[in-house]
């Protein structure tokens, strides 16, 4: 990602600095909650309209699909799937996370808008699970992203996932779903952890 000179179709030549021109490298901000009574209502709306980012990592991705089917039908609880991180509010890390995927996960998480929530599935995200001594996967997701809810199991069944969503809703309604602010407050700590794992860090520290 070094500076390079580009020649336009008209023959003009200009310099491109990918780190500056393609990314915004402003640090994340902490957003204070508004008036308690208003915040309570907004938190209720946030908890009843969970838009899940369809980002399949690990084997848990296969367990989230049945939630859309007639048997489990998560839509009735206000849970929908969105295809873009910009519009979604819940990020499901569905299982083991390889180093290569962690990079994409960090980028995707940072593109989501505050408030955002992370749900981690399976024992792989808690302590590494069956991959705990793998050379290529991380062990504790909590070190890299602020996790709101863990759903234990290997893999958790869709019923467990629904229970996890219920727990997430409860947390949001209680005003504890402040993961995005936590991430902004402890930004340096999270970044140091991420950089320890991702050796070829070729992006700005914060890219939304």
């Amino acid at each position: 990602m070094e500076k390079r000179t580009v020649i336009s179709p008209e023959g003009e030549s200009f310099e491109v600095d990918p780190m500056k021109d393609y990314f915004c490298d402003a640090r994340p901000k902490v957003y204070e909650p508004v008036l308690p009574i208003v915040e309570k209502f907004l938190n209720w709306a946030r908890s009843e309209s969970l838009w899940v980012l369809g980002f399949g990592t690990g084997c848990g991705a296969i367990e989230t699909r049945p939630l859309m089917t007639p048997r489990f039908d998560a839509y009735r609880y206000g849970i929908q799937w969105r295809a873009t991180p910009r519009q979604s509010s819940v990020f499901i890390i569905s299982g083991y996370l390889s180093v290569k995927t962690l990079k994409r996960v960090v980028r995707t998480y940072e593109q989501m808008q505050n408030p955002k929530f992370v749900m981690a599935l399976g024992s792989c995200t808690i302590n590494g699970g069956m991959y705990w001594d793998s050379y290529n996967t991380i062990n504790r997701l909590d070190h890299y992203l602020p996790v709101d809810v863990y759903v234990a199991g290997c893999m958790p069944r869709p019923e467990a996932l629904l229970a996890g969503f219920d727990m997430l809703k409860k947390r949001i309604r209680e005003g504890k779903g402040e993961g995005a602010n936590l991430y902004a407050e402890n930004f340096d700590w999270y970044k140091a952890n991420q950089k320890k794992i991702i050796k070829d860090w070729d992006m700005p520290d914060y890219n939304w």
């Binding site: 709306a45 009843e48 007639p70 039908d73 009735r76 910009r86 509010s89 808008q113």
Partner: protein, 301 residues
């Protein structure tokens, strides 16, 4: 037209009623589709919660002025379409800003929002937005052809460009509706209507399973909230337009709701039965049967 504050208040009242009707429709239609599929489906008030949630997002990213204006243009297109039509025929309150040449301006507002959205989504710089916009624009351009032919046929039939007069001509029972008196124009219009509702088989532009969500890929938070407001108002405005042109308009809100609901169900039925077209399919399809029907409608007048 003299300026009066009442007129503005009436217009706001119309927008309020139509917005709520649109949001409830948005909640009920997926519910019906879910019941057909053996699911329980979303709650009927889910669209309300979604809008509140999107406006309650604390941070938002803007990519520039056009990006900011995209949703504004889109909403203007929806509200403009609504306010230049007589919503309730003969009512001084819900006649709004209907005037002698409103049919032409209404046709223009059909396209206005799409163009604004194209500019806004273009500035976001996301490749999926660009692909979505090019798909959307080519599809809308193709469906405008039978739409315009049908509208011209109706204007020639009634010798007027005023929607109020077109509705007035249709009063006096089902037999005087355009549906009966000009079936070819009705067919052309109803086929192009399918495309403009954004449902299958013409939903390739926005479908999440295609390139992620198309033009609004980069839109989030409040921007998306405004787009959602428009997504409630715009379809209802279009339903009212087609009701006025083809099915004798409405003299009360109850009549309006029954008629527009039935017209909406037409697009829902077709969407449930037929699979999704790719854009090259849908463009070719619009240039086929609907286009020929539009030509026949004009020739037979």
């Amino acid at each position: 037209m003299a300026f009066s504050i009442d007129k503005i208040l009436y217009a706001l009242l119309t927008i309020f009623i139509v917005l709520n009707y649109g949001l409830v429709l948005q909640g009920i239609m997926p519910k019906i589709a879910a019941r057909v599929g053996g699911r329980y489906g979303i709650r009927w008030y889910q669209p309300y919660i979604d809008i509140v949630k999107n406006h309650a997002k604390r941070s938002q990213v803007t990519h520039g002025i056009m990006f900011f204006l995209g949703p504004v243009f889109r909403l203007t297109g929806g509200i403009g379409l609504l306010l230049f039509m007589p919503v309730i025929f003969g009512s001084p309150i819900f006649g709004n800003f209907s005037f002698a040449g409103d049919l032409t301006i209404v046709l223009y507002f059909q396209f206005f929002g799409v163009l604004g959205m194209a500019l806004g989504a273009g500035e976001s710089g996301h490749p999926h937005s660009a692909i979505g916009v090019s798909r959307g624009l080519s599809q809308v351009t193709a469906l405008e052809l039978p739409l315009t032919l049908g509208v011209i046929a109706i204007a020639m039939q009634y010798q007027t460009l005023s929607i109020s007069e077109i509705v007035a001509e249709q009063q006096g029972g089902v037999m005087s509706w355009t549906m009966i008196t000009n079936p070819f124009a009705t067919a052309a219009l109803m086929l192009s209507f399918l495309g403009s509702m954004g449902r299958a088989p013409f939903d390739v532009v926005l479908a999440p399973q295609e390139i992620p969500v198309g033009p609004p890929t980069e839109y989030q938070s409040g921007f998306l909230g405004v787009l959602q407001l428009n997504r409630a108002i715009f379809p209802v405005a279009k339903l009212i337009l087609f009701m006025n042109l083809l099915y004798g308009g409405a003299t009360s809100w109850v009549e309006l709701i029954i008629k527009t609901f039935v017209i909406y169900m037409w697009s829902v039925f077709v969407g449930v039965v037929f699979p999704r077209f790719r854009v090259d399919h849908s463009v070719r399809w619009f240039l086929g049967v609907p286009f020929i029907l539009g030509i026949i409608a004009i020739l037979l007048i």
